[in-house]
Symmetry: C2
Subunit: 341 residues, 2 copies
């Protein structure tokens, strides 16, 4: 049973989830890279369905199926099931907080993994058009299936790729955590947005479209290295149309999103080899003022004492220079070429 | 020349500082651990003074000296000089922001390193009483010397220890970055504090003193694993007396601070081996309402997509359990012993 604890006097939260690691030796060396994992005993592979929890949804040839305790669906395209070590879970005993001056609530919520291929070793860069757009539809479908649940106020959908980006299993997957509160960064954004006369993301769209930071665009989306970049090669993807969450995206928008996402990942591989990275959807189904966006961050630097202290990031590569590399104007071997902005 | 960029529509900042790494190959594999560094060619060692920038302050037998271009001070106890790759620096050409709809300012500020011993391989856990209290006095002195500078609104003082905590050189040192703005997390804290009738940190002191999370206390300070903990074995250190920054601390308080800090680091080594960690002072010289605190965080887990998306931390060890280990009630080998709270 996990617990959601509130900060002593701020509207911030942490989740205490002890299921996974309980003793100090579980931490020492826990993130050492043990080299390329094999598919042997991989729970995420097609054929291992019996060894996982019952699927919450199985996608196959464009249709959605359900596992039953008697029969697991096989030969799927995408498969979703509850995380074996959930940060939050739906069944929670209501516990009184132990200390009256402090605030906690049961760790209610949902935590699932989205397996993006039955085959070990596949990567999004190699997905066909129909595979990548199928995955975007799964993202939309899973988001929608949680936004309507009771007491859920945010659906966090993200990918951790590589050990340094927090992935513990290297079979292609994303995760979804549905929260009973609006996360503080989103709450702050929403407050700022509501103080404005028009959508600041629509304004960002216009600014970046005309800037040297745009790296890709298509009929529905724009991808750029944001003027305000936390780290090297951070990329944001914004829809041209103001929509607040994936549930508002048409099939055409999702097709175009898959296309642009795949291209960004290809350029990461071309420039950076095989970098660890995260991507995260920022979306608020409950707030039509919000403007859906997707952010990608290769994990090339470490947030150290300064970042922990000040919440301010030191970025050793300007987004303008990063955009030049991502667009192919600069190649990795162009060591000393100056970038004209 | 670095640049401080403001977020498109939030009061948040990033610092673009390209001096250190400019091409993609500077990132790939940049944080691979190459094993124990030797003292050969170490710029931080006693004897290498000629190879560093001129010291901003040299501490020797309780007195403060200055380097001159003709003569560097030798046989020092602690030595401070400007970071060779500064995130911010005092001399800045005033540049007009390139794009009118976006906000940037020159990267004005100060960035120095505090070398904590002339000897390679020393560690704070092995410091004598007078060495550790001398270092706390240096921390106070360096903080004070920057809080009074023009246009400086925050002094960030922190230690990165170990590559996974962001240290690039393993000779014992801390860093100080003086900022021309109040960092967003501190600004949010201050706003919440000003909305309260009394100091919430004084209230935290009272709560934690009576809780199972207190691990150490002395006449001046208390150390505890905070109820709201971002990660395993996070520890906060609070002064009993309400002071807002290190400049308000008496010599007696600093002596007691050194004592408690050294004990916490010893318990980290005892329980976790040789963990990478950060510690950071949270202090506001300009705001007497603020209550100085020091936070320590071993870097045992990775902030992944969920944390980046939601600003919410999943912590796999409760602070109550962590406190039991740190106090010695539990030993690392007590794998299955249940903690009574």
């Amino acid at each position: 049973m996990s617990e959601i604890r509130k900060h002593y006097f701020l509207s911030e939260y942490c989740i205490i989830a002890e299921e996974r690691a309980k003793k100090p030796s579980d931490f020492t060396g826990a993130d050492e890279d043990t080299g390329k994992e094999s598919s042997e005993n991989c729970l995420f592979c097609g054929g291992a369905e019996e060894n996982t929890p019952l699927a919450t949804a199985v996608y196959k040839n464009g249709k959605i199926y359900s596992d039953t305790p008697e029969k697991r669906v096989r030969n799927w395209d995408f498969r979703c099931f509850p995380n074996l070590y959930p940060a939050l879970s739906p069944a929670q005993d209501i516990q009184e907080p132990g200390e009256s001056s402090l605030q906690a609530e049961p760790g209610y919520g949902f935590h699932e993994v989205i397996i993006e291929s039955p085959l070990h070793g596949r990567r999004l860069e190699g997905f066909s058009d129909s595979e990548i757009s199928g995955l975007m539809q799964v993202y939309r479908d899973r988001t929608c299936s949680y936004t309507t649940r009771e007491k859920i106020h945010y659906v966090s959908l993200f990918k951790n790729f590589g050990k340094k980006a927090g992935a513990s299993i290297n079979h292609l997957h994303s995760q979804l955590i549905a929260l009973p509160f609006c996360p503080p960064p989103l709450a702050r954004e929403l407050k700022a947005i509501r103080n404005k006369e028009s959508c600041p993301y629509c304004a960002i769209f216009d600014i970046e479209k005309a800037s040297p930071r745009t790296i890709l665009e298509n009929s529905e989306w724009i991808a750029f290295t944001p003027y305000f970049s936390m780290g090297p090669f951070e990329v944001w993807v914004l829809p041209r149309e103001h929509v607040s969450y994936l549930g508002d995206c048409s099939d055409g928008m999702l097709f175009a999103l898959g296309e642009i996402l795949r291209e960004i990942l290809k350029s990461y591989v071309r420039i950076l080899g095989n970098p660890p990275f995260n991507y995260m959807f920022y979306q608020l189904a409950e707030a039509p003022e919000y403007h859906l966006n997707l952010r990608l961050l290769p994990r090339l630097s470490i947030n150290a004492g300064f970042e922990l202290d000040t919440g301010t990031y030191i970025n050793t590569m300007s987004p303008e220079r990063a955009a030049s590399y991502l667009k192919g104007d600069l190649r990795p071997e162009d060591k000393n070429r100056k970038i004209e902005l």
